[in-house]
């Protein structure tokens, strides 16, 4: 007999070694996330996938599924926590959606839509951050970085390179680029690298590809991120 956990009362099978996130996704249950990607080592930093496991709050993307776990995900309390976390991500950076070419295809925005987030709640921080347009084909806009480290992991794990890292702590945390000048053009990043395409926001963009999909046909214009995410899992990532 297979092992199982419950998520919001529903019994879900799992195999040893699976995280709660992996077991949930395999069973067609969406748990909101931004720093999690099934192909990369879990990082557990964005905290959007916070669930209650037998009464304790844990990150579903890093916590192993084990027998007798009662997991709560879609409770009013956790949904409210997730909305507040998303609002903090928005006010900490500079996320001006109307002027961002990722708008409509952005996971940060899509998670916010999914959580029915209408406002920022917190005071806006308006940090001063730079844009690195030095590379011929790839643009880095630090204003939109949420420090999910997906580019760091993709560069190391999929591209066998080491282009990105996160440096500094707290409010001084920032994405750094592994080159003497700190500019992207002096790295060996290639437009075909996974790291160039993995960013959930508009912080890493491929130049000369903006606004090719009209409003109404973008990824999240009519389909919520839970469906997009589960479909990707079912039919494989690009």
């Amino acid at each position: 007999m297979s092992k199982s956990i419950t998520i919001d009362g529903q019994s879900i099978p799992f195999i040893d070694g699976q995280t709660i996130m992996e077991a949930a996704t395999a069973a067609g249950i969406y748990i909101p996330h931004l720093c999690h990607h099934p192909e990369y080592t879990p990082h557990g930093s964005c905290k959007l996938c916070n669930v209650k496991v037998n009464g304790r709050v844990c990150s579903a993307c890093t916590f192993p599924a084990m027998e007798d776990q009662e997991v709560l995900s879609n409770t009013a309390e956790l949904i409210n926590d997730r909305q507040k976390i998303t609002q903090m991500l928005f006010v900490e950076g500079n996320h001006f959606c109307p002027s961002c070419e990722k708008s409509g295809n952005c996971q940060l925005q899509a998670v916010a839509y999914h959580l029915n987030m209408l406002d920022n709640y917190f005071p806006l921080f308006y940090p001063t951050r730079k844009v690195d347009a030095s590379h011929a084909e790839i643009l880095i806009d630090h204003n939109r970085c949420i420090f999910c480290t997906l580019c760091v992991r993709a560069s190391q794990e999929a591209d066998n390179k080491d282009i990105f890292a996160i440096s500094g702590r707290g409010i001084n945390k920032h994405l750094i680029i592994n080159s003497t000048s700190g500019l992207l053009r002096e790295t060996d990043i290639d437009i075909k690298d996974q790291a160039a395409h993995i960013c959930p926001t508009g912080a890493i963009l491929i130049k000369y590809t903006a606004y090719q999909v009209p409003i109404g046909e973008r990824t999240y214009d009519h389909t919520e991120i839970d469906q997009v995410s589960l479909n990707l899992e079912k039919h494989g990532h690009e």
């Binding site: 928005f90 959606c97 002027s99 839509y113 406002d119 308006y126 409003i215």
Partner: protein
């Protein structure tokens, strides 16, 4: 409510572009239906200069100068339900992109050293409201009761919000009506 039991609505644009007001007017012929149920108080649509007691205040744009602060406070004082309408009211929007440049540098470039500037001179007429050092969203200045995101929010967003209020429901925007762009 007004003396004829119509819901009174005031509207204004602070540091906005009037795009949200234009989008509101995109409700098209539904405005006739709306006119039976509401009446407009202070608004660019009426030319009434100051708010009286209102049920709903719709505010487009963020806060970029001292006059914006006074108008916002007047709306808060007079409106039961104050609504931040559009991206600029919610997070400062496009005008807030000056927040990364000092006010002095902004004025210098616009009026003294910028390309094509003639008769270089920073406007200093005492009637001009003083600029704030940064553009701020509405919720940092007064309590906001509801938010209509979008740049601009579509006509259907205005319609959904107003009909929810008129029919006595808690306003709710479904997925299709939530956009930040």
């Amino acid at each position: 409510m007004g003396m004829n039991n119509k819901i009174r609505i005031a509207t204004t644009s602070l540091a906005g572009c009037f795009g949200c007001h234009m989008s509101f007017l995109d409700i098209d012929e539904r405005i006739l239906q709306l006119a039976e149920l509401v009446e407009f108080d202070r608004s660019p649509l009426t030319d009434i200069e100051h708010c009286t007691n209102c049920d709903i205040g719709l505010i487009e744009g963020g806060v970029c100068n001292s006059e914006n602060v006074h108008v916002l406070r007047e709306f808060r004082k007079n409106c039961k339900i104050l609504v931040a309408v559009g991206a600029c009211a919610i997070n400062g929007g496009l005008p807030a992109m000056r927040n990364f440049i000092t006010l002095e540098d902004c004025l210098n470039e616009a009026y003294l050293s910028g390309i094509g500037v003639e008769n270089a001179h920073i406007p200093n007429d005492p009637e001009l409201p003083l600029l704030l050092d940064k553009v701020r969203p509405l919720h940092e200045v007064v309590k906001i009761d509801f938010y209509l995101p979008g740049c601009p929010p579509s006509a259907d967003v205005f319609w959904k919000f107003l009909t929810d209020i008129i029919e006595g429901r808690e306003p709710f925007l479904p997925y299709e009506l939530i956009h930040y762009d």
